[in-house]
Structures are given as C-alpha cells and as structure tokens.
Amino acid sequence: MKIAITSSGDSTDAKFDLRFGRAAYFCVYDTSNGSTQFIANEQCDAQGGAGTKAAEKMIELGVKRIISGDFGPKAKDLLNQFKIQMVMLDDANSTVGVIIDKLSV
C-alpha cells in the first residue's frame, strides 16, 4: 500500500508538514518494499485551489492513506469521494522518518 506523508523537505530527516495542500513535499512510502519517494508540491504557492490539486495528485498516484496535520474542506470532500484514508497528527516536531518508523513497527 502507498502512504503519503506531508513533508517540509525532500528527505526523511525533514520535518513533518502540518499543511496538506501547501506542504512543500509529499513523501510517498510504499509498505510493500519500504521505499520512499519525495515529490515536490508544485502547487504549494498556488493562488488558490492548492488542496484540491494536491488531492488530485494523491488520487493519480494511487495513494491509499495520507498523513498530515489537517485537511481543508475541499480536499476532504474529494478524498472522501475516493475512499482515501486521512490521518491527522498534531506532531509538528517529528521528522518524516520518525513517522515512517512508527508505521513499520
């Protein structure tokens, strides 16, 4: 299964990003082989519609679960329609790596 984690940088040492649509990067973690892939969020500075565009990208990537700080109403609606699991963590100080470690235990 593919899990996306919002990240403020392009490595597992980067801090978890609490924003979804305006996160700097998405880390796509594949549970089948433990690989991670970092995708830059082109829309993070978009003037509007960043959340829907991010959700659109997640759907295209075939992600089944997204871990972020919060989801805006537009993104929530869209992800709900595609049965993608949303997980909200209040963990501003963890790195992406720490969150992945939690997942693989």
Partner: protein, 293 residues
C-alpha cells in the same frame, strides 16, 4: 440621461457613508430630478441603517454563473483543466470524475470554450449576494448590495448590482467600498464623476494620495471633500494646492454630529453649519451634473 456620482475614499471611516447620505438628503430637497443612493460597499453595506423612513420594497439574489460538468457527456480530456487559470477544475480520467469548485471559479468561460463536447459543460446560476430596494410609494430611493457571508466575489457582486434595472434615477450616488483595489475600481469606473472623501490626518492624507494616483491612472474626473475639517493639518491643504486638486467643500468637525452618527440619526436635526457646507457643495456640483448629464 442619468448621472452617476461615486463617493469614495482610500481609508475607511473618513465619512463616505455620511457624505453620501447627506448629499442624497440635500439633493433630494433641492433638486427636481430623481435621486437614488446605491450602496456598493457590498461587504459592509450600512446606508440602510440610516434611512429609517424607507421600507424594503423587494429583494432578489445576485447570481454568479458557475459551470457544471456532466460526467455522462464528459470525455475526460482535461482540456478544461488546462484552460482554467484559477485551479477550479478537478478531472480524474481514471475515475470518471470531473468537478468545478464553486469557490475558486471566476466565471471566465474559458472551460466552456475549451470543451470539445457541446453539452458537457453547462453554466448554472449560484447566488452570491442579495440586492435589496428601499423606498416609499412606487419610488426606489436606495438600492443595496449585500455579499453573502463567506463569498469572495465582491467585485462581481458590485458589477451586477450596478447593472440592475432597479438602478434608474436621474442622479445616482454610488457609495463605494473602502480601499483602492478592484471593488473600488468596479465602482468608480461606472461613475461619471467621483468625489473623494478625506479627513485632515496623516492616515487620511496618505490614503488620499493613493486614491488620487488611482483616479489619474483610470483617467476619471474627481474632486475632494474634506470631512471633519479642522484648521490644524496644513499638510493636506498644501498637498491639494500643489496637485491642483479641486476641493468641492469642507465639512466642519462637529462632535455633536459624531454623537448623532453613532445613534444612526444622521439626517435628523442636521446642525446648521453642516447643512450650509452641503448646500455649498451641491451648488458647486450643479455644474458637474450639467456637464455629465
């Protein structure tokens, strides 16, 4: 032929509403032509608060046309997504999914043009604001636009408001929103002449300068009314003289009148000094009215 006069100011609280209402009131008593007040401050309309004698005559919605994608017709070619500059459209070919986000759409029509299928995108009306008419007997004296809370489409609401058939008097006073950005442009560009209301303070002067720059760039004729006038702020007089800006009048500061404003009783027992000031302004304005009518 009707004349439209906009009342604007860069800064809020300089007295746009007070001046608009007073001009309306004094014009009504002095002029034979019909006069209407149009409240274009759709975010915070409050002219109606002060015109207690008038009854609400009618109310209707102002609409925005927002496209709807019919997924049974759509071929999911994503052409509309490509055309939409506002990120308002989501199309997922793999999932047969296509949707327009209403709060992001600017109604530019690019998607309907982009779409190769004739009936796949159809525009539907969505309410974004309320238009209300106030008056007595048959005549409508005040037309107010009121943006629905949470809607970001103030400029569109103003444009639609000014197009309404209810706006029809010989002299139309447009009470503009504060600031110098697009909602203000939408108001003053519809007007034949604009009155800038300022106050003698550093804030007032700074914002007046911005407003003057805007009016010059728009090439719209304008004049200035100094509200709450007191003698101790020379920088404003110097600026107006140096820039050769026409001063239509000065309304003296009156603390009694400020108390009256607070109560909402702007048009009862107007102090004589103030009435005199407005009568002078109207005399001054008459030449403009003739020029632009």
């Amino acid at each position: 032929m009707s004349v439209k006069i906009a009342i604007a100011s860069g800064k809020g609280g300089t007295g746009k509403t007070t001046v608009s209402l007073n001009l309306f009131h004094h014009l009504k008593t002095q002029a034979t032509a019909s006069v209407q007040l149009i409240d274009c401050d759709v975010e915070e309309p409050n002219d109606a608060l002060f015109l207690k004698g008038y009854k609400k005559q009618s109310e209707e919605a102002i609409h925005q046309m927002i496209p709807h994608i019919d997924t049974s017709q759509c071929t999911f070619c994503r052409q509309c997504v490509e055309y939409c500059e506002f990120n308002a459209i989501v199309v997922l070919p793999t999932a047969n999914f296509a949707e327009v986000n209403k709060s992001l759409c600017h109604s530019c029509g690019a998607c309907t043009y982009a779409c190769p299928v004739p009936e796949a995108i159809i525009e539907e009306a969505h309410p974004i604001a309320q238009l209300s008419c106030y008056g007595n007997c048959e005549h409508t004296s005040l037309v107010e636009g009121r943006l629905n809370i949470g809607s970001p489409m103030q400029t569109l609401a103003i444009k639609e408001l000014l197009k309404s058939h209810h706006v029809n008097a010989d002299i139309q006073l447009l009470d503009a929103p504060p600031g110098t950005s697009c909602p203000v442009v939408a108001t003053v560009t519809q007007a034949d002449y604009t009155i800038l209301v300022t106050e003698p303070s550093p804030f007032g002067l700074h914002d007046l300068k911005l407003m003057v720059a805007l009016m010059r760039e728009l090439q719209q004729p304008f004049g200035v009314i100094i509200n709450k006038y007191e003698d101790n702020f020379k920088a404003l007089d110097d600026y107006l003289a140096a820039e050769k800006i026409e001063v239509l009048g000065k309304i003296p500061f009156s603390s009694n009148y400020a108390h009256q404003y607070a109560r909402g009783a702007l048009l009862d027992d107007i102090p004589d000094t103030i009435t005199t000031a407005y009568q002078a302004i109207i005399t001054h304005l008459q030449s403009k009215l003739l020029q632009y009518a």
